[in-house]
């Protein structure tokens, strides 16, 4: 019987090392040894992705590295998830995410999605080039807790404010936290359009989301 802390550390290290095969091997060991898969996700996979997020913020890792690490994380999740017993009261926080209409750059959005999923948020991805009203519709439909909007283009950033106006007009602004990000966006801009938060990159976005929703994801 392997020491479970050792397994968790191994999972975390395998994610950081971009080693998908090793991640899967260790995830299978977790199942074989009847270790709590939920704990393995939290202390292994999520822990590894948190370190990846930090390496990204420190400019040790860049986009290709995050994408490869996340493949390892998703492969591990696929092994572990089916073994988690559903707990009735335990509802994960839901996020609706998308790139605002007019912009088809979605690398940044995809990174945020990865980091949110690594933090065990349930993410509904609207994709790129999304009209403002779609954010409102989807958030209501899935009873989201948080709306995350991104853009890389200065030409489309004003439409982020449109989303917030639509929420207000619909009388549901209070139901959702809204966070924004992307190349041309700043904290000041986020404040001006009335967003609840701004994150400078994907690692920071996951932390911000946890903060906005009161600690745990």
């Amino acid at each position: 019987m392997r020491d479970k802390e050792e397994l968790f550390q191994g999972l975390s290290d395998a994610i950081v090392a971009m080693d998908e095969d090793e991640t899967v091997r260790l995830a299978e060991a977790v199942i074989d040894d009847k270790i709590d898969p939920y704990e393995a996700i939290e202390k292994g996979l999520s822990h590894g992705m948190e370190r990846v997020g930090r390496l990204f913020e420190e400019e040790e890792y860049f986009v290709p590295e995050i994408l490869i690490c996340s493949d390892a994380m998703y492969a591990g999740l696929e092994v572990l998830k089916p073994h988690i017993k559903a707990v009735g009261t335990d509802r994960t926080h839901r996020v609706v995410i998308g790139v605002i209409e007019g912009d088809t750059h979605d690398i940044g959005k995809n990174l945020v999605k990865i980091m949110l999923e690594a933090s065990r948020f349930e993410v509904f991805d609207l994709g790129r080039d999304v009209p403002p009203v779609r954010f409102l519709e989807k958030a209501k439909e899935v009873e989201a807790d948080l709306i995350a909007i991104s853009t890389l283009m200065t030409t489309t950033m004003e439409d982020m404010g449109r989303v917030i106006k639509l929420l207000q007009e619909d009388g549901v602004r209070g139901k959702f936290q809204v966070m924004v990000g992307g190349g041309p966006i700043s904290k000041r801009f986020a404040d001006r359009i009335g967003a609840d938060g701004y994150a400078v990159n994907a690692g920071a976005a996951a932390k911000l989301a946890k903060g906005l929703l009161g600690g745990e994801a």
Partner: protein, 339 residues
């Protein structure tokens, strides 16, 4: 000094009376809605017709005050040649990739690209360059080609492609070499058609996306292949890269372009300090152009001239709703700068 002589002199490191003010075309074009509505020369129709493309390029030149004629008006021509599905956009929205041609670099066939230029939108662009350069011999026509990383990420699903830069190096290099060949050929044909300079716009070759190691391995290597091929055809070439370049700063001096254009987050005066041999182009914030006052736009332009920036230009793609008077505030101020 004619605008064509001035731009050509700057790109050869020669002393000029004042910096030219240009807007290269491609994703950085000045075909704003106001110009199109006033003239009736409109996108998206002008993306697909030699006559309309030439007509719109001329109207943009005549009304904005930029000292070049830049075309085409998007960065999807090459991706379309290679099989990606394009959404041609609208009056105010640029064309974009709807679906990349291939899921992985492994699926990209190796093929001869020489005969792809005789038809389709490549022929439209070359024809339009031919027309305007004959009509305006003293104005530099700047032909814009899509940079190698941006093109590769427009024909292969970008999420897979960025991973394959690390995980499937051999094939990723093969695809990069092939697209660079195609881009070089396009650039040479633009020169032959009458273009006075080539701009390679490579927004995906950003340090923020790639980091220093992959930037050197892929961006610098293949941008230089295109630069060298253009030089061999006696053409001048400007390279535009987006985003914050601080992580790849040390590699900037290795790019052999005749001028380097960057995003407005970069200080061009500091790049000049660090690399005195680089000819700089840029970098008026497009947000300022779209929402700022004429006064602030003018003083920003003047500061760039004072800082010794060699070519004054918008830092990135213009908002299509940018007012014409804001563009004139930029071009008029630079043109009024005394030697």
């Amino acid at each position: 000094m004619s605008p064509r002589e001035r731009l050509s002199a700057v790109l050869q490191h020669r002393v000029v009376d004042r910096p030219p003010v240009i807007c290269p075309g491609g994703m950085m074009n000045a075909a704003v809605v106001e110009v199109m509505e006033r003239t009736g020369c409109t996108l998206p129709a002008a993306h697909g017709s030699e006559e309309l493309m030439a007509g719109l390029a001329i109207e943009v030149y005549e009304r904005t005050g930029f000292e070049n004629i830049g075309l085409p008006f998007c960065m999807t021509v090459e991706a379309e040649m290679l099989g990606s599905r394009i959404d041609m956009g609208s009056l105010s929205c640029e064309p974009k990739i709807e679906k990349e041609a291939y899921p992985s670099v492994d699926n990209v066939p190796v093929g001869d690209v020489q005969d792809l230029f005789a038809s389709g939108r490549a022929a439209v662009v070359l024809g339009a360059i031919g027309r305007v350069s004959k009509m305006y011999p003293s104005v530099p026509v700047t032909g814009v080609v899509t940079g190698p990383l941006s093109l590769a990420a427009s024909i292969v699903d970008p999420v897979t492609f960025f991973k394959e830069l690390r995980k499937n190096r051999e094939k990723a290099h093969q695809v990069m070499a092939d697209v660079s060949d195609l881009i070089s050929t396009f650039a040479k044909q633009m020169l032959k058609a009458g273009a006075g300079a080539i701009t390679v716009a490579d927004p995906s070759a950003s340090g923020e996306i790639l980091g220093p190691a992959l930037f050197e391995e892929y961006a610098v290597k293949y941008l230089n292949e295109i630069v060298d091929a253009t030089h061999a055809a006696h053409g001048h070439v400007i390279v535009h890269i987006c985003g914050d370049l601080k992580s790849v700063r040390r590699h900037l001096g290795s790019i052999r372009a005749d001028a380097l254009s960057t995003d407005s987050v970069m200080s061009l005066s500091r790049i000049k300090e660090e690399f005195p041999l680089i000819t700089t182009m840029g970098n008026v914030s497009t947000r300022l152009l779209s929402t700022g006052s004429a006064h602030r736009i003018g003083s920003t332009a003047e500061k760039l001239v004072r800082d010794g920036v060699d070519i004054i230009a918008p830092a990135c793609g213009l908002d299509t709703h940018t007012p014409l008077k804001s563009i004139r505030a930029l071009t008029d101020r630079v043109r009024a700068c005394a030697p």
